[in-house]
Each structure stands twice: as structure tokens, then as C-alpha cells.
């Protein structure tokens, strides 16, 4: 393999640096209408639309639509999943009917000749609002007197479960040490730089819907559009062009996007909707709103005995369709403590409805929560024992020799390299020198902290994940290859590209499997009309699943091409090989791929009778074992706190990760660094805040603080490579581990610094005010 493992930049980014990308909003359709939505200004209210005449009369307005208008062409939906049996999530509609249950829920839409006019008209729609008591505060949502998030509900508890194994009471009874803490995680959101957007066109004559949308999984959406709008699946074409960031945000069914498609179907005219930043912050999924009470039992030898955890998770007004927001809570509990050896676990999850926008799967779903909690407890235990936090971890990490490891929750982990990663991290940090530097700085009065986080991530979910739950999410993928008459290879993958670089990795795989240079492989993805059904981009699956499909397709095409060449050259296929775009034998090059393809395509009569070369092949890959592929790693963070102002500065950050075979280290490291910074954002800046009446306070980028270049540290990345033995290539997921571990590492670093002053914090993001209060500088 000469191209797999090479640090090649993604070829398609040459277009993007030149400003020649093609994002959703870069193309328009003739005669298109622009949509704007009237959204509920209240977190909870009954409403009646009393007048649309003024809006309709505005010059340039073509239609004003409400739920009643869309109902004939658009079904409501409800989130149901076998993985959360009995979950309560009310029916949802493209436009709300009679009751709005979160601020930002769309209740009417205007279609006009320009977006500006559509916004003018939306202001003129007359609505009678009847404000209802709203529940936004997670801590209060389960109180007996909490108002219901939807009228008619008797409780806001949408779902509860207990995940357990081993004898938890015995573990705590036997403990020499019990550490506990309550960690509060404030909602954050994805903030892809390109907001959500869709351009929908319906052809009534062919009854075909074409949707150009910024989305992560075209096929999943195709299915839902077909079901909801009553169009045959094969007549729904979903095109996801260049996508300006996904991170899980663009994989759900959003009411405004469905309404846009329904409006196009109703009117038979192209309709465009592009969320502006204010409506994006208000209506994109949020994530990671948790209050976690956790205890950890440790024996006299410093060995972890068990975890006892209570997690209350905010769902928002609905459990997100189709995957269900509860996934995040389950994932948080599953990832909590996963790197460690312990014998008992009890985790109680309560998933709670609130009058807020739904939460959903956001990069590294749940892991940052579970990991931050466990790593905080581990640091508390090490401190209580007066022990180095890495020594405590070293003792408790599941060793390589103990793999595969099934923990008390039944989570199976295989081929993890915790001890190797730890050793590599220690070398990378040059710990003795670093510790000496920290001591010197502290002696000079600086408030410095070093924090660690050990992680296991469950990636590249296989068919059992959603399949068994009855949720229509594909976990299989297919790559189709064609040898073109020019000798180039075109590839069409059901994996999609949202910037992670997956398509470049796949091109390198195809290149090696087939025998050409990667730049001879032209990747296509993100279009249901040209790619076979598959999963798209989620759960860091591109390399692990898509890579296998690409390898299989490359080998198939190779076999076809060698058979055809052997027929032409009158030799045995085994004597031939493909190298650098040429067909060779022991004597050297015999013909180019272009010559072969031209012969087959234009002069088929030259082939012997009965030879039918297949220059287009497909390979479909489903993993048959392992529900998810586990990856592992370590992060370390060095921070400085200005004890007078409470400002926290991340100084350095280190990551050692094992994501199996690296198809392309340059792109993997990009994923890691970007993920870490997203995690730092979550730890120090990002927060969706609400006032006491439930009004959203983070509605602009001046209020929702994102990590910017000025405050972010350089991040050192190193790898341990333990290939997954269950596949040809051995790749596992790499896209989310940075985000998984960074909040925990930062929180521990901050608390390491604060510990010098006898202080601690336990709420994310850690704000300057929280630091000052912890230090006693503020009341």
C-alpha cells in the first residue's frame, strides 16, 4: 500500500481555497421563492393565526402558509425508537398547530420574491398568543409543580432507564474511599459556519421532488421526505453539495426544512430557505444539557470498584426525529469510566421534556459528558489518596492484555491501547520537565494547572445500533467505481463529505486497491441520484465502513480489468498487475488503463468472444460483528488562570489517540485538532442561556461565544496505531475523539490550578465569574 497512510491534502479543497466551492446557497433555481418563517417568540404558548391578509397583500409576497395549508401534503411525525421503549415525545409538525412548545418553533411561513420581503411579511401576520407556563430550567423540570412542556402531559419525564451491572451496593460497601461530585453541563450547539439551508423543487408532471440541502446524510433524508410528503422514494432526489460543516447538527429532520419542501410541492415552484444566524441559534439542535450526580467507589489499593450515577438530561420540547435525543444520555452513561476496570455500575438516566429547542446528536454524542464526569472523579480520588493522577489512572486502565474487555454495562471493548497511549503521552509531555516548569511558575505566583482525560469512544456504529431499534438509519455503505475511457476512475460513494476529508481517504484506498495514483480517482458523493443508498456522515464511520466498501470495489475493478487485459494480451490474469495506471507484467508495462478502457468502450470487437468486462463495479459493505468500534486515547491540557480576573487561558494541549489504521494522518490530525477546540469551546465559552422566563439569551454570535483563534492553544498530536482486526484496512473512527476528551481535560486542568487555592468548579462552561467565586474573590 503506497497511498494509504500518506498525509495528502483533500484534493477537492483546491476548489474551496479558490472560492469555487458549491455550497447549498451558491446555486439558485429560476423562479425560486424565498421562505421566511414566523417563529414563536414564547417558550410556550397557545396561538391562533387571526390574519394573513396584510402579509399576503405586501408586494412581492406569493403565499402565506400555515399548518392547515401544509397538512394535505405533509404528514406529522413522532419520534419512536426501540432503544427508548415507552418514551414520550409528542407529535411534531412542519408548522406548529395551536400550541408552540419552544421559542423558535415555526408557526407560519411566507414565500416571497426576496428574503427581505418575506421577512417584512412575516412581521405582518396577525397572531393571538396565549402565553402558557413554560419549563426551561432542567433542575426544576421534574418538580411536582413544574408546568408541563406540552399541554395535557402529566409529567415532563419523557423516558427513564437504568443501566447496570455487578453488585453496586457491595462495591460501595467495600469501598475504602468514595468520591462524588455534581457536574452541570450547560447546553451548547454546533454552530456550523454554514447555516442550514434547502432549495426544494417539485415537478408535478413527473411527481418528482429535488432537494438541494446542506445535510450529512442524503439517503436518510430522502426516505423521510418520501414518507412525510407522500412522494415515491425513487422520485425524491436529495443533493448535498459542499457542506459547510455538519458535526451532527445537519442530520435531523427539521420542521422548517420539511415545510420548505412541502411548500415547493404545494406550489410547484422552487422554494429556498436559508436559516439566518439568529434562527440557526434558536432552531438548530442544541446538545449536552445534563446534571450528573456521580459517585465512585475505590478500594484501599486505589482500584476503582464501581460507579453510581444519576443523569438528568434535557431533551427540549421533542425527542429529535428520527434518532431520538435520548441517545446522548445513554452514550454519556456508556462512556463514563469506560477506560477503566471496575466491577459494578449503576447509571440512572432521566430524559426530560422542556420548552426549549430539541437537543440532538452533536459531535461525540454524550461522550464529553460521561468522560468529564469520570475523569473528575478519578482526579478527586487521586487527590484524596495523595497520589499522582496518572499513577491512579495507570493502575485502573484496562491493560492491552485484558482485551477484549466487557465491562459491567456489557460494553465490549477490543484492541484498545490505553497503556501504550499513556506511555506515549508521558513521553510527549516530557513530564518531569513540565512538572518542574509548573512548580517554578507556581512559586512565582502563577495559577497554573495540568489536567488529563482518558477516553474510550464508541465509533462507526454498525447495523445493530439503529437497525434493532427500528430506526431507519443505514449503517451499510457502498462504493461504485467506473474505469473511464481516459483511464481515470470515477468513484461514487454513499459516504458523504462534510469537510472531514473522508472522500480523500477513500480515494487513497481506491488508488491502492486498484493500482492508480489518488489524483486519478475522482470522488463523487452526496447525491441520491448518483450514489447508492447508504449512511452518509455520522459516528466517525467514513473510513471504517466506507473505507471497506472502497477497498472491496477497488479490488473488484482490478479483477475485471486484469481479466479483460489478459484476454486482450492472451496471457493469464495472474501474470498481470496494475501499477501507476498501467497494466504490467514481469517484463514491464503492457498497456495503459486508457488503452484498455478505450478498447473495451469503443472497439469491443477486439475482445475474444464471451468476454464481457465490467468496467463499472459496486461493493457493498456491512460489518458483521461489533456494534461499534471502540477507540481510545489520552488528552492533557495546561491552563493558566488569572486569579484576579478569572480569565482562563489554555496554554498547551496534547492528544494521543488510537483510531486504528490511519488512512491519512494529515486529515486525522485535522479532525483531532478541530475536535479539541470544539471541546475547549464547550468547556470555557459556549452556552445557550435562558432568562428566568425562558427567553433565549444567546441568539447572536455576540452572545454565544465561540472559540476564536486568539485564545486557542497549539495542540500536539501523536498516534498509536492498533488496526481493527475485523476489517481489511483496520480503520476505526477518528472524527470525534478530540471533542470527547477536551472538556474533561480542561476541567481537570482548571481544577488542578484551583486546588492550589483550595477551590474547585464543577459547571461547564467554566466562566470567569465562577472562577472568581470559587476563589472567594466574589460573593
Amino acid at each position: 500500500m503506497t497511498h494509504i497512510g500518506q498525509p495528502l491534502p483533500r484534493a477537492a479543497t483546491l476548489r474551496l481555497v479558490a472560492g469555487r466551492g458549491s455550497y447549498m446557497d451558491d446555486v439558485s433555481a429560476r423562479g425560486e421563492l424565498h421562505a421566511a418563517f414566523l417563529r414563536s417568540p414564547y417558550p410556550h404558548a397557545g396561538f391562533r393565526i387571526t390574519g394573513t391578509a396584510a402579509a399576503s397583500a405586501l408586494p412581492g409576497v406569493v403565499a402565506v402558509l400555515t399548518e392547515a395549508d401544509l397538512a394535505p401534503v405533509c404528514q406529522p411525525w413522532q419520534t419512536r425508537t426501540g432503544s427508548a421503549p415507552g418514551m414520550v415525545s409528542p407529535t411534531q409538525r412542519a408548522l406548529a398547530k395551536d400550541e408552540a412548545c419552544y421559542q423558535g418553533e415555526p408557526i407560519a411561513m411566507v414565500l416571497a420574491l426576496s428574503r427581505a420581503v418575506a421577512e417584512d411579511a412575516a412581521e405582518l401576520i396577525e397572531v393571538e398568543w396565549q402565553e402558557l407556563p413554560a419549563i426551561t430550567n432542567l433542575a426544576a423540570a421534574l418538580d411536582a409543580d413544574a408546568p408541563p412542556a406540552h399541554q395535557g402531559l402529566t409529567s415532563n419525564l419523557a423516558w427513564t432507564t437504568e443501566m447496570k451491572g455487578g453488585d453496586i451496593d457491595a462495591a460501595f460497601a467495600a469501598a475504602a474511599l468514595v468520591v462524588e461530585d455534581r457536574l452541570t453541563f450547560t447546553r451548547s450547539t454546533g454552530v456550523t459556519l454554514e447555516p442550514r439551508g434547502v432549495l426544494a423543487q417539485y415537478n408535478p408532471a413527473s411527481q418528482a421532488l429535488e432537494v438541494r440541502i446542506s445535510h450529512q446524510m442524503p439517503h436518510q433524508l430522502q426516505r423521510h421526505l418520501a414518507d412525510l410528503l407522500g412522494v415515491s422514494l425513487a422520485r425524491v432526489r436529495v443533493i448535498c453539495p459542499d457542506v459547510g460543516g455538519g458535526f451532527g447538527l445537519k442530520m435531523h429532520v427539521y420542521p422548517d426544512e420539511i415545510a420548505t419542501c412541502a411548500a415547493a410541492r404545494l406550489l410547484g415552484r422552487p422554494v429556498r430557505f436559508v436559516a439566518d444566524r439568529a434562527e440557526a441559534l434558536l432552531s438548530d439542535i442544541h446538545a449536552r444539557e445534563h446534571i450528573v450526580d456521580a459517585r465512585m467507589a475505590v478500594d484501599a489499593g486505589g482500584r476503582i470498584l464501581g460507579f453510581d450515577v444519576q443523569d438528568v438530561q434535557g431533551l427540549g420540547a421533542y425527542s429529535i426525529f428520527p434518532r431520538s435525543s435520548t441517545t446522548e444520555g445513554v452514550s454519556a452513561l456508556r462512556s463514563l469510566g469506560a477506560p477503566y476496570r471496575f466491577s459494578a455500575y449503576r447509571g440512572r438516566l432521566r430524559s426530560v421534556l422542556q420548552n426549549k429547542v430539541p437537543t440532538g446528536q452533536y459531535r461525540s454524542v454524550g461522550h464529553p459528558v460521561g468522560i468529564a464526569v469520570a475523569e473528575r472523579l478519578v482526579d478527586l480520588a487521586a487527590a484524596a489518596r495523595g497520589e499522582d493522577p496518572l499513577e491512579f489512572r495507570r493502575r485502573n486502565l484496562v491493560a492491552e492484555a485484558e482485551m477484549p474487555w466487557v465491562n459491567p454495562l456489557g460494553a465490549r471493548m477490543a484492541e484498545l491501547s490505553h497503556q501504550q497511549c499513556l506511555a506515549k503521552l508521558e513521553a510527549l509531555l516530557d513530564l518531569p520537565t513540565l512538572r518542574a516548569e509548573i512548580a517554578t511558575l507556581r512559586a512565582a505566583g502563577r495559577c497554573i494547572g495540568l489536567g488529563f482525560a482518558s477516553i474510550v469512544e464508541f465509533t462507526a456504529t454498525g447495523p445493530e445500533g439503529y437497525g434493532r431499534a427500528g430506526v431507519l438509519v443505514a449503517a451499510v455503505d457502498t462504493v461504485v467505481l467506473s474505469l473511464e475511457p481516459s483511464g481515470e476512475v470515477t468513484a461514487r460513494a454513499s459516504i458523504s463529505e462534510i469537510g472531514q476529508g473522508t472522500t480523500q481517504g477513500l480515494a487513497q484506498v481506491v488508488a491502492d486497491a486498484f493500482g492508480v495514483a489518488p489524483d486519478q480517482v475522482l470522488m463523487g458523493s452526496g447525491d441520491t441520484a448518483t450514489t447508492p443508498h447508504g449512511g452518509g456522515a455520522w459516528a466517525s464511520r467514513g473510513a471504517a465502513i466506507g473505507g471497506e466498501a472502497a477497498w472491496g470495489a477497488g479490488r473488484k475493478l482490478r479483477a475485471e480489468v486484469l481479466a479483460a487485459a489478459a484476454a486482450l494480451l492472451q496471457c493469464a490474469p495472474e501474470t498481470l498487475d496494475i501499477s501507476d495506471g498501467r497494466i504490467i507484467d514481469a517484463s514491464g508495462p503492457r498497456m495503459t488503463l486508457a488503452e484498455l478502457a478505450e478498447t473495451v468502450t469503443f472497439r469491443g470487437y477486439e475482445l475474444p468472444a464471451g468476454v464481457q468486462p465490467q468496467l463499472t463495479v459496486a461493493h457493498h459493505y456491512r460489518r458483521e460483528q461489533d456494534t461499534a468500534l471502540t477507540t481510545n486515547g489520552f488528552q492533557a491540557s495546561l491552563v493558566e488562570i488569572d486569579a484576579d480576573t478569572g480569565i482562563i487561558t489554555p496554554l498547551r494541549h496534547w492528544v494521543v489517540g488510537d483510531c486504528g489504521r490511519l488512512l491519512n494522518p494529515l486529515l486525522v490530525e485535522g479532525q483531532v485538532r478541530g475536535g479539541v477546540v470544539q471541546g475547549i469551546g464547550e468547556a470555557l465559552f459556549e452556552a445557550c442561556r435562558y432568562d428566568e422566563t425562558g427567553q433565549f439569551l444567546s441568539g447572536t454570535l455576540a452572545d454565544y461565544l465561540l472559540p476564536m483563534a486568539g485564545e486557542m492553544p497549539d495542540i500536539t498530536v501523536a498516534h498509536v496505531e492498533t488496526p481493527y482486526s475485523g476489517s481489511v484496512l483496520g480503520a476505526k473512527g477518528a472524527g470525534e475523539a478530540g471533542t470527547a476528551g477536551a472538556p474533561g481535560a480542561i476541567l481537570n486542568a482548571v481544577n488542578d490550578a484551583l486546588a492550589q487555592h483550595g477551590a474547585a468548579v464543577s459547571e461547564l462552561p467554566v466562566t470567569p465569574g465562577a472562577i472568581l467565586r470559587a476563589l472567594g474573590r466574589l460573593p
Binding site: 480576573t645 486568539g710 466574589l778
Partner: protein, 276 residues
């Protein structure tokens, strides 16, 4: 996020501009770095935009007779880079380096910032600490307003609806005076959580804050203590500022930050003196 409708005029002369401003619901468009976001969010809905960007000479920076005159249309980037400003008002570049980001400084203007009077903005505090006089005009004539009388509190100034800010006039830094601008912000270029603009002279001081109080004013008690050579009392005096309150940034935190910053500003000047 598109603005509501408005009319637009781009006067070529001051007289024309002032006549336009006499119309109802007219608003001056300078750099647009604050007004355009507010219009896009539809929290500002002027009926008529009077674009002053082509008014001749309005952005001039001049130093004459011991007075530095900065035209209202001088861009933040120009003021930041001006050798005249560095010489006559060294506080300003210190502050401007912390105002927004490069592309915003390329458009944003001194006049816009002063007219907006955002309580967290750096430049109003600098005008107070530098004892500026603001020159304003309307079709009714010209007025000169001392900085202390120009700022009226949260987003509020002495400017009448039909008035245009023409320039700020600053006495050039006198010998023996030293200047420090310090602020705390969550991220580089953000509006300040708290900031201090300090001019310290022989037995005299001028001190103004940003991000702390809703109104922009000097801090007479602290100034008096500084003039009397009692820095501790000056810092203590900031404990009784009328700080803004809010869930994210309580009044106590703003006061605390103001005190920290004043202490640091004084230490910085002292260190500079020691080095000199």
C-alpha cells in the same frame, strides 16, 4: 436577517448632510459596524440612512496648536496607525488595539463609536480620560461639547437627532503625563467586561471606565485620590461605582474587575517609570 426598508442618501457636502439629517427618523451611516448589525437584526429601523462616508475631510487627523483633531470619519485602523495620534494621544492606540478586529477597524469610525455610546466601548472612556471636546453640527449651527457633557448614559449622548458629530479635539499629551488603557474581555476583540482609561499627570489624574457603569463618566473620587498620591484609596473608591448588573456579569464582578485593572494600570505606569 435582512434590514427593514429604508431610504438612502449619500450627501457630497456637509450642508447637504445636515439638511438630510433634519428629516424625521434619519440616521447617520458611518462605518456601519454597529448600525448595520442592528439593522440586519431589525432592532434599528431608520427611515433614511444618511451615508457620510463621502463627506470631504471628515476623516482628517490634524495636530495644530497643541490640539489633536480627529475627524469623526477617521477609521479605527487609521487612528491606530497614525503617528500624530501616537505622539499626541498615546492612550488611543493602546485602546484601539483592543477594539474589535482588523476588518471591523478598517470601517468603524471614531465618530460612530462615540455617537453610539455603548457602555462597554473603549473610545468614550478614552475621550473622558483625554479631556476631549466634541464638535457637533446641525443645520442650526455648530456646538462644542466637553466629553463630560457629551455622554448621557447607556447608548445616549448630547447629540440631537439632527446633529452630526464632526470631530474630537484633544489637548496634546502634556509633558509628565502618562497613559494606560487596560481591559478584560472574554476573547480578543470582544467588548470589554471592564476597562480603565487612565491619564496620570503630576498631581493630577483623569480616570474613566468602560463596561462597568451604564453611563460614561470620569471617576472623581478615584481621581482625587490619585492626584493626592494615594493609589490604594483610588482603587478602593472604585468599589462604589454604580456598576451594571446582570446574570452573566453581576455588578460585584464588574467593580472587582475595575479595581484589578486600575491596580494593574498603576503598576504598569510605575514599571515604565522605573525602566525610564
Amino acid at each position: 436577517m435582512k434590514p427593514a426598508r429604508f431610504d438612502y442618501a449619500r450627501p457630497a457636502t456637509l450642508a447637504e448632510a445636515l439638511a438630510l439629517l433634519a428629516q424625521p427618523e434619519a440616521a447617520v451611516l458611518a462605518g456601519g459596524q454597529s448600525l448595520m448589525p442592528m439593522m440586519n437584526l431589525r432592532v434599528a429601523r431608520p427611515a433614511l440612512l444618511v451615508d457620510i462616508n463621502r463627506l470631504p475631510g471628515l476623516g482628517e487627523i490634524r495636530l495644530a496648536g497643541g490640539v489633536l483633531r480627529i475627524g469623526a470619519l477617521a477609521r479605527h485602523a487609521e487612528v491606530l496607525a497614525s503617528p500624530l495620534v501616537a505622539q499626541a494621544a498615546p492612550l488611543l492606540p493602546q485602546a484601539l488595539a483592543q477594539v474589535a478586529h482588523a476588518a471591523i477597524r478598517n470601517r468603524g469610525t471614531l465618530g460612530g463609536s462615540l455617537s453610539l455610546a455603548d457602555p462597554a466601548a473603549e473610545l468614550p472612556a478614552c475621550m473622558l480620560a483625554l479631556d476631549a471636546t466634541l464638535v457637533v453640527a446641525s443645520a442650526r449651527g455648530e456646538r462644542r461639547i466637553p466629553a463630560g457633557a457629551f455622554f448621557h448614559g447607556l447608548y445616549s449622548t448630547a447629540l440631537a437627532a439632527d446633529e452630526l458629530l464632526l470631530a474630537a479635539e484633544l489637548p496634546a499629551a502634556a509633558p509628565g503625563w502618562r497613559f494606560a488603557f487596560l481591559e478584560v474581555a472574554r476573547r480578543h476583540g470582544d467588548f470589554a467586561m471592564a476597562g480603565v482609561a487612565l491619564a496620570l499627570g503630576p498631581n493630577a489624574a483623569r480616570l474613566a471606565l468602560c463596561g462597568v457603569e451604564a453611563g460614561q463618566r470620569r471617576q472623581p473620587a478615584a481621581e482625587a485620590a490619585l492626584a493626592a498620591g494615594d493609589p490604594a484609596a483610588a482603587i478602593a473608591a472604585l468599589a462604589s461605582t454604580d456598576a451594571m448588573d446582570g446574570p452573566d456579569l453581576p455588578a460585584a464582578q464588574r467593580r472587582h474587575l475595575a479595581q484589578v485593572l486600575l491596580r494593574r494600570a498603576l503598576a504598569q505606569l510605575e514599571a515604565a517609570d522605573a525602566a525610564a
